[in-house]
Amino acid sequence: MIQLENVSRSFTVGDQQVAALRGIDLSIVAGDYVSIMGPSGSGKSTLLNLIGLLDRPSSGTYKLDGGNVTALDDVQQARVRSEKIGFVFQSFHLVPRLTAAMNIELPLILAGIPPAERKTRVAKLLENYGLADRADHRPDQLSGGQRQRVAIARATSMHPAVLLADEPTGNLDQTTGKEVMNLLEQLVKQRVALILVTHDPVLGGRAQRQIHMVDGQIISETGQSGRAMPAETERRAESGLR
């Protein structure tokens, strides 16, 4: 589904060219659970932004569902983001003036989905993520775990094929962090490709595929694509859901 071929990305800092990614080859299929690990500055976030079409590679090709998406213009890329990609951020990025329900509804509004359908979809998501009684609360009235649950509900509201999570537990305590991970892993079972960026080896270790990056390059990859989740992870994922 996702195919990166010899992708590089370099930035100009002052009058120097700094390579953030060098010759990345990566392919991810539906239902993959991939963690990208590495020290800060290793290019893992840049890779995630490239996959999420928030950034364009300096060279190389990126194919999503067989189509070359690097050649698309701003409007087309936005459409791909809207339909196929969901984001979960470390700092949640909820709109502070909007209620939980409205935050979840945001991608549906932007996609121009009729209000009636939006309502049913949002109600279902609130239900699924145990937020039904928090629907009319604004982010500042929610706990960290609840905020991230709203963010995940928002990320999945358009039924994306790929979910990109950048340190999704970075701002959460251990218990809520585990809860959030369980929710994300539950999505993998629904054939969503989950790509998790983290510097935490324990968290990254939960994925079937683990990619280590240093200095803009993939230095090692363990695990296999398309394999079922290990029994241990699956059991935990299920018990974590309500």
Binding site: N49, G52, L54, D55, D74, V75, Q77, A78, R79, R81, S82, E83, F87, F89, S91, H93, V95, P96, R97, L98, L106, P107, I109, L110, A111, G112, R154, M158
Partner: protein
Amino acid sequence: MRLLDVALFASGSLRGSPTRTLLMMLAMSIGVAAVVVLTALGEGARRYVVDQFSSLGTNLVILLPGRTETAGITPGMLIGQVPREISLDDAEAILRSRAVKRIAPLTIGSATLSRDALNREVVVLGSTSDLLEVRHMSMGIGKFLPAGDIHESASVCVLGNMIKRELFGNEQAIGAWVRLGDRRFRVIGVLASQGESMGMRTDELVIVPVASAHQLFNTSGVFRVLIEANSRDVIEQARHEAEEIMFQRHNGEKDVTVITQDAVLATFDRILTALTMAVGGIAAISLAVAGVLIMNVMLIAVAQRVKEIGLLKALGAPGKQIRALFFAEAALLSAIGSAAGLVLGYTGSTIIGQIYPALPVSPPWWAVLAACATALGTGVLFSVWPARRAARLDPVTALARS
């Protein structure tokens, strides 16, 4: 994204920072209100002057003795020379022109009007029966001056409304005798109350036949001849022919002045319209200032909402959608601001209308339209740059901003 959703989202972000929104709306509405009130004043002044002129009569040409552009001092007057007067025969002769419908000579003086023990100083107007039509006067009760020979000095008079009330109260005035100077006159009519027109209060006039007025004041010349042309198109012809007739009758001397009401009116109309527009334009500058304020605040809003913009992009909003959202915000602000401004402006002009009832204060439609258009225009125009800046934000750096 649906249009309604764009509007809802924009109004949501406006409500998100109420103080900022209120202040911007205030600036906008003050601008619009200023345009409305100031043009209403200008337009009121213009209409006041136009009304005053048209209450003089329509298609009016005025003949006055002396060769002057406007009524003023002639060189002859400085050396003790009085311009040759216009006689009643002169006035009648003007009727020979085919462009002239009717004439009314005017002689003005003041005399003491008395009835029994009551007396007061009044302005006496000597004229003919046609004055009623020419000057658009209307009768309260009784008859106006009788038609007939212009030289006949009948002892009849028509009283202004206020004079009648002062002298007779609720008593019957028609048929009663009053004394004007050293002559007795019989009251044959009372004018309807009309208020003031061009500085002459018809309510405080006494009108007598022009020949009687000449005897009363011991003169033979008239003060003015009011000439009513047949139609608007022949006003110029009437003016020219009146001048020509007077030229011949005064032995080839151009010693009268003929002015047309139309020319004077048109000049006033032009001056006051220009004034209204100038005042409106000055007020419109405040709208431009409000526009700059909107731009400034929008730029701040973009800077404050960088993360939100980055998020919207990540959630699948293309740049043009972000731009549309900021446009919608500016348009909403301007629209609500101008609506509030209109309310404020109309309230203001109504209050001014209450304070100065003589002034017909009402903002002209073009000024209202221009004010709203300028408000919306500047609002949207000045948000182009902030909206573009928002649309061009790099989502990666926008989201990374803490």
